[in-house]
């Protein structure tokens, strides 16, 4: 295990060490200590490696991650794993707003709760939240899966495109063009797989599926009241 003390080294040195890892290097397991809630820790990584961050992190931890597996042992600030391409990011605590925003791929696991706009504009990422999500989660979600083992706040999936949302608990309200949809065996299998991969002990059959009614895909003045 290789250790990087962020307090001693500073952000740039920690990130450059991880970003500059040579192809084929055997230094693929890293621990970052003393993160002190700093922003942009372990962002822009693009090689297979594991990074364990021991403590809370600020904004944009794991931003634009490719291939790396990052675990935050604590809570995370705004924009956790924003625009992730592949790999995984896991947070053992809670995550602030816009977790997984615009993510194109990979798996984001939030063991606690996620605040508002979780999965906003997601483009292929899979997000699994052990607790609940705040309002406007899945706003303009394009592709991928958002799994919520707890409850969802207001306006879930507002203006959603082709992303698939699964919620076990209650939903305060659905956003524009978001409707409850049939849970087919294929959807159940996908959900089961996501729960297993994320280590969530939840019964897939307790979930409901939500997605786009596809009524707003072409601007129609007669549907202006729907916005």
């Amino acid at each position: 295990m290789n250790t990087l003390d962020l307090q001693a080294l500073g952000l740039r040195a920690v990130n450059s060490t991880l970003q500059d890892l040579e192809d084929g290097s055997n230094k693929t397991a890293w621990t970052v200590t003393n993160p002190m809630g700093q922003h942009a820790i372990a962002c822009g990584l693009d090689k297979p490696m594991s990074v364990d961050i021991l403590g809370h992190v600020g904004f944009y931890c794991g931003g634009m991650n490719k291939e790396a597996d990052i675990t935050v042992h604590g809570h995370a600030g705004v924009g956790l794993a924003e625009n992730m391409m592949s790999g995984s990011v896991r947070v053992t605590g809670n995550a602030s707003q816009s977790a997984g925003a615009t993510g194109h791929g990979g798996l984001l696991v939030i063991e606690g709760d996620a605040s508002s706009r979780c999965g906003i504009s997601m483009k292929g990422i899979d997000i699994v939240v052990g607790g609940s999500v705040g309002h406007m989660s899945g706003f303009m979600a394009q592709l991928g899966h958002l799994v919520v083992c707890g409850d969802a706040g207001d306006a879930l999936g507002d203006s959603i495109y082709e992303a698939k949302l699964y919620v076990a608990g209650s939903v305060d309200s659905l956003g524009a063009d978001c409707i409850e949809k049939e849970m087919t065996p294929e959807h159940l299998a996908t959900l089961t797989n996501l729960l297993q991969r994320s280590g969530m002990d939840a019964d897939p059959k307790s979930f409901k599926r939500y997605g786009s009614a596809r009524q707003l895909y072409h601007f129609d003045i007669d549907k202006a009241d729907a916005y």
């Binding site: 740039r12 942009a40 822009g44 931003g63 634009m64 707003q97 925003a101 504009s121 895909y217 072409h218």
Partner: protein, 446 residues
């Protein structure tokens, strides 16, 4: 008999209303007929105070001119040397503004790259990400970081020569956009992770930051991902240029791009284009004032766009404090947009060459604002690129001509003292004296 008497009486000529003019009447009829607002491309078309309302004074007994065709007048500009380790080095102070593949054809994007390369300047991506062709044909490419994040990925971010965080656009400060389904072919849809053929909303707010404190952290993240190499531009629409410039500087921007309301768009409501934002002329001095008060003028570069048409506009923007300008609409025209050679086809679309602005519909006869293969094939990227290079060259020569006449050996040495205004409005906005007077409206009389 009585009727004859009536007809022989003199009558006043039919008088059209200045308020309900011909265009206004037609728009009322159009709205009444369709039930939907008008959407179009391009920027504000109404008459606005602009660079034409300013004049250069030229040299005189108290100012020495430089010899035309002999003495050097520099045009090079460095963008982004505040923090970035690899700032952008341009030969001319005229850049190509952000325009997306999707709104423009692949041929048009290639032509922009070819023209910019020949002139020694940069092009800019738009909403929808970076295409390989675009990167390949642009030696210097600015990668826009937009609220939609369509096509955004760290590899392209690192391939870019600079990153432009788009907060606003002059044609629609506070607005997003909508790329209509007819322009969403398989490739465009794939780049945006959306189904083919559906309307695609470009968001007006960034999904993961709000306000200057967050922006500072976002800039930190982008610098971390790109190892501090890339200049970070922040593009703002011309609405509150003093505060937005100050906040962009506070947030850590290397360059501020300021787009006035004459700046073009691919598609926005006409009411938005014509009634939101400020003229470019009114935006520059407040932005420069903010930079000066922060001791950041010429340290954080200011790029001005929105209605730049010729070398005189370039020189005037420089004189008011800009470090460079950016062109979009003019570049498209140089390549062949709205060219009279397509007049019959413009007529068939219900418009005329010079007025065509339905850039969102994808039926551009010139093959520029379209994804239709047949139409796009009309534009020869090599020829169009050469035309753009010629145009950029002419603008640069014109700006140099004016700068020399004002005794300046670099276009950046032009200053407000070189200008006067033809109208009270322009004098107030540009903060230069009304021609023939010492009066600068809005400033205390000394």
């Amino acid at each position: 008999m009585a009727e004859q008497k009536h007809n022989s009486q003199p009558r006043a000529a039919a008088r059209a209303s200045a308020t309900f003019d011909e265009y206004t009447l037609s728009e009322i009829r159009r709205a009444a007929s369709t039930g939907i607002y008008d959407i179009r491309g391009a920027g504000a078309k109404r008459a606005l105070p602009h660079f034409d309302d300013l004049l250069f004074l030229g040299a005189s007994i108290s100012r020495y001119p430089l010899e035309g065709y002999r003495e050097r007048c520099g045009t090079e500009v460095t963008l982004g040397d505040r923090f970035a380790s690899k700032p952008l080095q341009l030969k001319i102070p005229i850049t190509i503004a952000g325009m997306s593949f999707g709104s423009l054809s692949g041929q048009a994007k290639e032509a922009l790259g070819r023209g910019a390369n020949a002139a020694g300047t940069s092009t800019t991506t738009g909403d929808g990400g970076m295409t390989q062709e675009e990167r390949g044909h642009s030696k210097l490419l600015v990668y826009q970081y937009l609220p939609s994040r369509y096509g955004m990925n760290p590899d392209d971010l690192r391939k870019a020569d600079a990153i432009e965080i788009v907060v606003g656009q002059g044609a629609k400060p506070g607005g997003g956009g909508m790329l209509l389904g007819q322009k969403i072919n398989k490739r465009v849809a794939g780049m945006r992770s959306l189904p083919e053929g559906i309307d695609q909303r470009s968001a007006c707010r960034h999904p993961d930051w709000t306000g200057p404190d967050d922006l500072e952290i976002k800039i930190l993240e982008l610098r971390e991902i790109t190892r501090g190499e890339k200049p970070i531009f922040v593009k703002i629409g011309g609405s509150r240029p003093y505060y937005d410039t100050a906040l962009a500087v506070k947030s850590g921007a290397d360059v501020v791009v300021l787009d006035g309301m004459q700046g073009g768009t691919a598609a926005t409501q006409n009411v938005f284009i014509e009634h939101v934002g400020m003229p470019t002329l009114a935006c520059i001095r407040p932005a420069v004032q903010a930079l000066q008060e922060l001791d950041m003028h010429r340290k954080v570069q200011l790029v001005v766009s929105g209605g730049i048409r010729n070398g005189a506009d370039v020189a005037k923007a420089m004189a008011l404090g800009a470090d460079a300008v950016s062109i979009g609409t003019a570049a498209l025209v140089a390549m062949g947009d709205n060219d009279p050679r397509w007049e019959s086809e413009y007529n068939a679309l219900g418009t005329t060459a010079g007025s065509y602005d339905a850039w969102h519909e994808g039926r551009d006869p010139a093959g520029i604002t379209t994804q239709d293969p047949e139409l796009a094939g009309r534009l020869d990227p090599v020829v169009a690129g050469k035309r753009l290079a010629n145009y950029l060259g002419v603008m640069t020569l014109e700006a140099q001509t004016i700068a020399r006449a004002c005794g300046k050996n670099h276009v950046h040495n032009l200053e407000p003292e070189d200008l006067c205004a033809l109208t009270v409005e322009a004098a107030a906005m540009a903060k230069v004296p009304l021609a023939g007077t010492a009066w600068v409206p809005g400033t205390p009389v000394s």
